[in-house]
């Protein structure tokens, strides 16, 4: 293992942490020899460290950790629920109305992020906007797949969309999440959808 607990550091230059912006969900970075060897993990996140030997260490407890064997790849994952409202305008759908959904994303198999998403580059972030983009595409596909009928009972619509989105999530790069569809709206029903369409 290439990591151990370290004393708290007060000089921000001496350690690396994930960006504090609230829209950053995942931050990954390869830490080289010339960079600070200490990383910080906050209480609302988890970090995964892939050591040079290939071992992966999960840092589930907040604190400072020293990486004594580098280069190591570190991925920070924000663990809080992501509540998002995603809409598909009517122009993107073959019906005369647009659809929007209130979706809560839960991280499922966080380790998949390390072996999947976060190996694309030496450093990068996955933001809420990026996730929303993908979710919008998934919602559109889900709406088309289930042949949505707005006249059906709302609970039934939500249940079918929930099921379909979760199926589609597994096939997307967001497969480390599951979602809970809390509500579905149509453009002729609410101002938000009209706004999204506009």
């Amino acid at each position: 293992m290439c990591i151990e607990r370290s004393r708290p550091q007060f000089d921000k230059k001496k350690y690396i942490e994930a960006p504090q912006e609230p829209d950053v969900v995942i931050y990954y970075r390869e830490i080289g020899r010339k960079e600070p060897d200490i990383i910080r993990v906050y209480e609302y996140e988890e970090a995964y460290v892939v050591c040079p030997t290939g071992e992966t260490k999960v840092l589930a407890e907040p604190g400072f950790y020293r990486i004594y064997s580098r280069p190591a790849r570190v991925t920070w994952v924000r663990l809080s629920k992501l509540t998002l409202t995603v809409g598909v305008p009517s122009t993107n759908l073959p019906f005369r109305y647009g659809v929007h959904a209130d979706i809560v994303l839960f991280p499922k198999n966080v380790q998949m992020i390390v072996i999947g998403v976060a190996k694309m580059a030496r450093e990068g972030v996955i933001t809420i906007d990026l996730i929303k983009e993908e979710l919008r595409r998934i919602l559109r596909d889900a709406v088309l797949n289930v042949k949505l009928d707005p006249n059906k009972p709302r609970k039934e619509i939500i249940s079918r969309i929930h099921e379909e989105i979760n199926t589609l999530l597994k096939r997307s790069w967001l497969s480390m999440f599951v979602c809970d569809v809390q509500g579905i709206g149509f453009s002729h029903e609410c101002e938000l959808a009209k706004f999204l369409e506009g």
Binding site: E61, F106, P107, K108, N109, V178, C179, D180
Partner: protein
Amino acid sequence: MSSIVRSQLELFISSERVTIRNSLRDARAEAIEKRDYDLSASLEEIENMLMGFMPIKSAFPTPDEYINALRSYAFTLSLLSSLFRHAGISTETLSMAKKLMSITLEKVEMGKLIENAKKILSEKEYGREVFIDGCKTYVGLLVGRVKEFDRQELHIVKEALTEIFAGGKPIRRLSDLAKELGAREKDLMRILKRMPDIDPNIIVKEKYVAMKNKLKEYIEDLLSDKGYILISDQAKELSLEPKYVVDALKILRDIFPNLRIYEDKIVYTPNILANYVEDIVRESIVISYEELAAKLGIHPKLVAEMLKETSRYFSETAIIEKVLINKKRIVSWLSKIFGDRPIIFVDEVAGIVGVSSKTAKAIADLAAALSKGDIVIRQNRVIYKPNMIRILSEAIREQVLPEDIASLKETDPRLVEDAVYKQIYQKLLDFEKTVMRGG
């Protein structure tokens, strides 16, 4: 040493929390996917509880108190991971997990915590297995890393042993136990050698560990089934060398004073063995020591020795020389040998039983004494009076005395004559009755 314990426990708590949390998170994702919001809410609650489930060093006035708290938390986490592993994640197991964490947070002492945890888990049938597994995890965590266990940890070992022994053999090889607890024999022995101080019910020897009360129950069950135990059979059954079985049984005599171990080969209690032998004798009626030894699967010499003490407990069995006799059934047994014959020779009885004429005569004497006069012994002849009377009755009618009765008359005229007179008297009585009835 306490610093080793401390770091070990801290490491365990931190890694175990992550492991449990990951499985809870997976379960929660699954619950969300299935839209089981009650379960997902419970999972979230437990996950949050788990996040803060670590004693804070600064909250304890002394290092010892901090280590004690670490012990409690580590023990509870062992139980939690065992609970989820054995019974899966459900609202039921989550509620138990919540209770377990709550009692730990109450900062009760370890003994009380163990007791309460056991009580909570025993509500379900899988609880025992969960408890053993949790204890095993905890013991495995420290065995080999610390030279000696703290008294509280020894209590956990004791509980683990009690549960392990509750569901299996009452005596186990140390090597098997080490495998079961995931420890090296040497390390385990170092820990276990202090166990008898904690619980005198536990026997810890170089090669085996036993629970006295369980062993007693086990032996009692075997004895009630078979009346005696062959050490060699039990050694095979328990996968132990016979000398260790004998050793354990000798120690067991502290609480089982009636237990006899004869020549390290056979185990019995005189009263139970007496009942068992009496059952055999009741069935066979007359049985020699050799036959009994063959039935018990031991040497006749051993039978003789064992019966010296055991015979005091016999109620309906007599011993003549080296023959056991059921007193209640000896007369009918002998009468069957007679068949229709009035006289047999002692040698015939000797031949049937397989004993000397002297012993056979003694058996016949006993039968005679118990027969209320039906059986009479005259030198080497055994006379069965009911048969003799029946034959004499015919002889009076036909006026010819059979050869064997005639021969008996020569040696013992009084006996035959008495019988003849009795028969004549009987016939006269019968005649008188017939006349009186006017027939």
